[in-house]
């Protein structure tokens, strides 16, 4: 197989159906940009949610009579738990102080003894902050004999998690749709290129070119389209992300892998699209 000849014929291919190829590449770029934007939206939404989760405190109120040694032991156990990011001990005195700060009333003047229990405030690792995992964690903690009650903002977490899931599913469906669109775009352009070169293909067949020899330039063409689409999409997203950062949302996260990801998808779908097209229209 003669690489140079294949490449030369591939160039002639591109010239023949040039406009269709340009149109296809532009459309692929748009679709990949949309995928990139979905990805960005997803990552940033997750980031925002993570930060919300990081502020979710689980308050573990201890039984009134627990002694200092037990408390220290429990604290160690909690700190060692991989799901836990931070543990703060709030002694009964501290709790009273906070109460006074928050409500401006001096409890000690009303009742003789401090009625507030000691507690731990626990912040979980965001990776473990899904409603189910939190619930499991809370159930586990509640088992300890030292623990009286465990409280956290259950409703907010459930709410956020539910909508995050809906958004994630919607974005995935949208991305899947775009994958299909890209594949069809490439499929169609290759089909048209094959159509515009059917005379030359017929002659190739006639003089005994192998099927593989006839097909390969079209596969290469499909992948080039995918690559070009990926590069243009990366450029569009570069401008887009800079604009968004400058104007509305300076904290915008841009995952490092994004450009490679778009390029990879471009190549992958380019190959699939041209492969299907070639096998549909160029098989005996």
């Amino acid at each position: 197989m003669n690489i140079l000849f294949t490449l030369k014929e591939g160039m002639i291919n591109l010239k023949r159906a040039r406009l269709s190829a340009v149109v296809s590449i532009l459309s692929i770029s748009l679709a990949l940009s949309l995928i990139g934007i979905s990805l960005l939206a997803g990552e940033n939404l997750r980031d925002i949610f993570d930060r919300v989760y990081q502020q979710v405190e689980i308050e573990v109120f201890l039984q009134p009579g627990v002694n200092a040694g037990k408390i220290k032991q429990l604290r160690k156990k909690l700190a060692r738990d991989t799901r836990v990011t931070k543990v703060i001990y709030i002694s009964r005195e501290k709790a009273l102080e906070e109460f006074q700060k928050n409500f401006g009333e001096d409890l000690s003047t009303i009742i003789e003894e401090n009625p507030l229990p000691a507690s731990f405030r626990i912040i979980l690792d965001p990776a473990n902050a899904s409603p189910k995992l939190i619930e499991k964690f809370v159930a586990q903690i509640s088992q300890y004999p030292e623990v009286q009650e465990v409280l956290y903002q259950k409703e907010i977490i459930n709410f956020l998690h539910k909508y995050f899931r809906i958004a994630a599913i919607a974005a995935s469906l949208f991305a899947l749709l775009l994958f299909v669109v890209i594949t069809i775009l490439i499929f169609n352009t290759i089909r048209l290129t094959i159509h515009s070169r059917r005379d030359i293909i017929q002659i190739m067949r006639l003089v005994g070119a192998t099927n593989w020899f006839i097909k390969s330039p079209f596969l290469i063409e499909g992948m080039i389209q995918g690559i070009a689409g990926g590069i243009i999409a990366s450029g569009i997203l570069y401008l887009f992300t800079n604009l968004v950062r400058d104007i509305i949302f300076p904290r915008l996260l841009v995952p490092d892998y994004m450009n490679w990801f778009l390029l990879g998808i471009g190549i992958f779908l380019g190959w699939i699209g041209s492969y299907i097209s070639v096998n549909r229209y160029l098989d005996y």
């Binding site: 197989m1 002659i203 006639l206 003089v207 005994g208 070119a209 099927n211």
Partner: protein, 229 residues
């Protein structure tokens, strides 16, 4: 060399060819004649396996239509040259490139190609016009280019489907002479034609097809009988 055993071709419940039995020997020259729709083109397509029969078996060289694999067909095609009424050349390339194309396409290097192309172009008498553009050629010259391309792999048979259909009588005679010369050097020729005058000029074995089968083999001596049509 080429043998048809009870070959039938069916398309949409209609028999296009029925029970053809035929043998073309090494170095033979065969005419195929018959009305439009008689099945001449279909018979030729069976030989270069552009079509696989629905019944029976076609043997070409060492290939058999009943068990040939798709990916073997290109190698069969390299042993069979084909030319058509409408030349089927690439109009955006010159004479040399058109002929060379068929060698490049089967993976030969640029150097190998050159000497072979020049020798074939000499054979068909077009060496001096090898850099002429397609549109600068007469119909007869275009057909010579097509013949050169068909010859380049030294096929054992040349299939020609109405090769003179677009040519004037003078050019037709030239092409016929060229095919005879090629045939004399050992390549078999099988030619479908409506131009019975060719047969009077160069009498050879002649098969008359009608309605999908070979009605009769016409005796070269009785040729005048068909020309009376």
């Amino acid at each position: 060399m080429i043998e048809f055993f009870n070959v039938s071709v069916k398309s949409k419940n209609r028999l296009i060819l029925r029970e053809i039995n035929l043998k073309i020997r090494k170095g033979e020259f065969v005419y195929l004649i018959g009305k439009t729709g008689a099945g001449k083109t279909t018979l030729l397509r069976l030989i270069y396996m552009d079509l696989i029969p629905t019944a029976g078996n076609v043997l070409v060289d060492k290939f058999s239509s009943s068990n040939i694999r798709k990916r073997e067909i290109p190698y069969l095609r390299r042993k069979v040259g084909v030319i058509f009424q409408d030349f089927k050349l690439l109009p955006d390339r010159n004479v040399y490139e058109n002929v060379a194309f068929s060698l490049r396409v089967i993976g030969k290097s640029r150097r190998e190609v050159k000497s072979r192309v020049l020798s074939v172009l000499t054979q068909v008498g077009l060496n001096h016009k090898r850099y002429h553009k397609y549109h600068m050629l007469s119909g007869g010259e275009k057909q010579r280019v097509a013949i050169a391309r068909a010859l380049i792999n030294e096929p054992f048979i040349l299939l020609a489907d109405e090769p003179t259909g677009n040519l004037d009588p003078e050019a037709s005679k030239d092409i016929l002479n060229l095919l005879e010369k090629i045939n004399k050097s050992g390549t078999a020729v099988c030619m479908a034609t409506h131009n019975y005058k060719l047969i009077t000029w160069a009498p050879h074995r002649t098969l008359l097809m009608e309605d999908g089968f070979i009605k009769q083999e016409i005796d070269p001596d009785n040729l005048n009988q068909i020309l009376e049509l």
